[in-house]
């Protein structure tokens, strides 16, 4: 579907993207994850033909974006970070222009405009000026624009930035629906968002691809940080005794709280966290000490992300 090979982009001395290669298959939702300034927008701009590359190539459905831009662009719907809207037009006029520019005419154009208005749920505001619409609606108009012409791939650059929580949920639902019929690539620096909607995640840091896998596989990368946190009504010594008696628990941190409880975070190498929780429960029950709260904590995408993007000086200069 999309092949990116050895992509490099330099702005003067600054290398925004360096030797990036990956392949995107049909019919899945891909998440493009990275801290600010990691090169997400640059990569997306190059993939959609808005920007040239210093080196490397991008193939869309077998068409080189630099050599055969028209065929390649027909297969892509793109929503840049800031929706490219004409403020003094209505969504209906705007979509008509985009549709015509994508080569749609007459009845087919009308049909597709109605279809995307319905999909993006903006039918009731189609005759209002875009400048009078809220940010969430503008974002939807931007998505509707990307959907026109029925492209196979939809690329969305940070589609939920700056929206309120309800709008975020609505946009995520919309993206999930689109994922059923299209290949969707979206960028984000919000981990929970990517975890919630993406089937595959590309993590990019300082212009380099550092990971490309399913979210659950990425989490498995960090087994060692499985842990249990609990709060018990017991003294530090008693807790130390109990934890010492349980195998698989290597280290722990204790924090005495003001209300008499003691908060503990214990790390384990064992994959079977449930068994250890059970052991802990009965050990405290035998001593007639109550456990007020207990939860197992598995490594999540956030840990993977921090692990992968750290150590390379963390944040880029931008």
């Amino acid at each position: 579907m999309i092949t990116v090979e050895h992509l490099t982009k330099c702005y003067g001395d600054f290398t925004a993207v360096s030797n990036l290669s990956f392949e995107i298959d049909e019919g899945q939702v891909y998440g493009f994850l990275g801290p600010n300034g990691a090169g997400k927008s640059t990569t997306m701009n190059i993939m959609t033909g808005c920007l040239s590359a210093t080196e490397g190539c991008v193939w869309i459905n077998g068409h080189d974006i630099f050599e055969e831009p028209e065929q390649a662009k027909r297969a892509i719907g793109y929503l840049p970070e800031q929706p490219p809207l004409y403020m003094n037009e209505t969504p209906a006029e705007y979509l008509k222009f985009v549709g015509e520019a994508k080569g749609l005419r007459g009845r087919e154009l009308q049909r597709q405009i109605e279809e995307v208005l319905r999909q993006a749920k903006i039918g009731h505001v189609k005759d209002r000026l875009i400048s009078a619409l809220s940010k969430g609606y503008r974002q939807r108009v931007g998505i509707a624009q990307a959907l026109l012409g029925n492209p196979e791939v939809i690329i969305l650059d940070e589609p939920t930035v700056g929206l309120d929580p309800i709008q975020i949920i609505e946009i995520r639902d919309l993206i999930r629906q689109l994922g059923e019929t299209h290949t969707v690539i979206l960028s984000s620096h919000i981990l929970s968002e990517v975890q919630a909607i993406c089937e595959k995640v590309l993590i990019i840091s300082q212009g380099k691809l550092v990971a490309f896998d399913r979210p659950e596989n990425l989490e498995k990368l960090l087994l060692a940080s499985n842990g249990i946190s609990f709060t018990a009504e017991a003294s530090e010594e008693e807790i130390g005794e109990v934890l010492g008696s349980i195998s698989h628990i290597a280290e722990w941190e204790i924090q005495v709280q003001e209300d008499g409880g003691t908060k503990v975070f214990a790390r384990t190498e064992s994959e079977n966290v449930k068994d250890i929780c059970r052991e802990l429960f009965f050990a405290f029950a035998d001593r007639k000490k109550a456990i007020l709260e207990i939860s197992s904590r598995k490594a999540n995408l956030e840990d993977v992300f921090i692990e992968l993007t750290e150590g390379e000086s963390g944040v880029t200069e931008e």
């Binding site: 702005y11 003067g12 701009n45 959609t48 033909g49 808005c50 920007l51 040239s52 831009p69 028209e70 065929q71 662009k73 027909r74 892509i76 793109y78 840049p80 800031q82 490219p84 809207l85 004409y86 403020m87 003094n88 037009e89 006029e93 222009f97 985009v98 015509e100 520019a101 994508k102 080569g103 624009q145």
Partner: protein, 287 residues
Amino acid sequence: MIAVLKHELSGYFHSLTAYIFSAFLLAFVGIGALIYNIQSAVANFEYVLGYVCLGFAVIIPILTMRVIAEERKQKTDQLLYSLPIRTSQIVMGKYFALLTVYLVPLCIVAVYPIIFAQFGEVYLPTSYGSLFAFFMMGAAMIAAGTFISSLTENQGFAAGIAVPVILLNYYSVTLAEYVSATASGSAAALIVTAVLLGFVIRHLTKNQNLAYGVSILIMLAVVIIYLADSSRFEGLLPDIMTKLSLFERFYTFVNGVFDLTAIIYYITVIIFFLFLSVQSLEKRRYN
């Protein structure tokens, strides 16, 4: 291209741009006609056009300042880049939309000579020949304005550059009388131009070697020709300044000569600036 053209046209007629432009153009021509044709009872409509053409310095920037600058400011240029249309089609669509807006008031103006003909002897071929040249000259300036608009994202700046450029072009013939006509003066002016050209190339391409190369090559050529035969540079500078004037060529039509070379010159200017506009848009993809 058609999509861009339709979109631009609806934009002009939905906003005030088309109306302000038409109003100004009609007002200028109207005042001119009042003074020459009605007050002084002169039958030559072409004099009105000759009198009015300085008004281009005001109305062309009004028309062209937002054409590309606004896209860049609203970030809608990203949409245009991601659509399956070529940059040349975008520029052509925009340019033909501007020409259409420019043609609308001219169609009204085209009725004036016929009206005047009802009341006296009007030589219509000169009137309409001049009107055609007037259209071509405006079209050339619109192309230049389009290019200026593509250089910036600030409309005011685009207009602020376009006005002095048109004024300078208007007065270049007058200025030509004052500049040095000697061979050494012309050669010096050419060398200064070569240096300036070098700076422009370096700014646009960020390629120092190319800029210095072009600059030094032109300077060498000037020096060699000057040493070989300095009489070639005699009066060259004022000559070039006169030749570059769009207005000077228009006055030939006003004087009753249909000058085909002038028309070809206008078309060349149009193609040149549209080409530069396309390059200016393309360049933004590369920086």
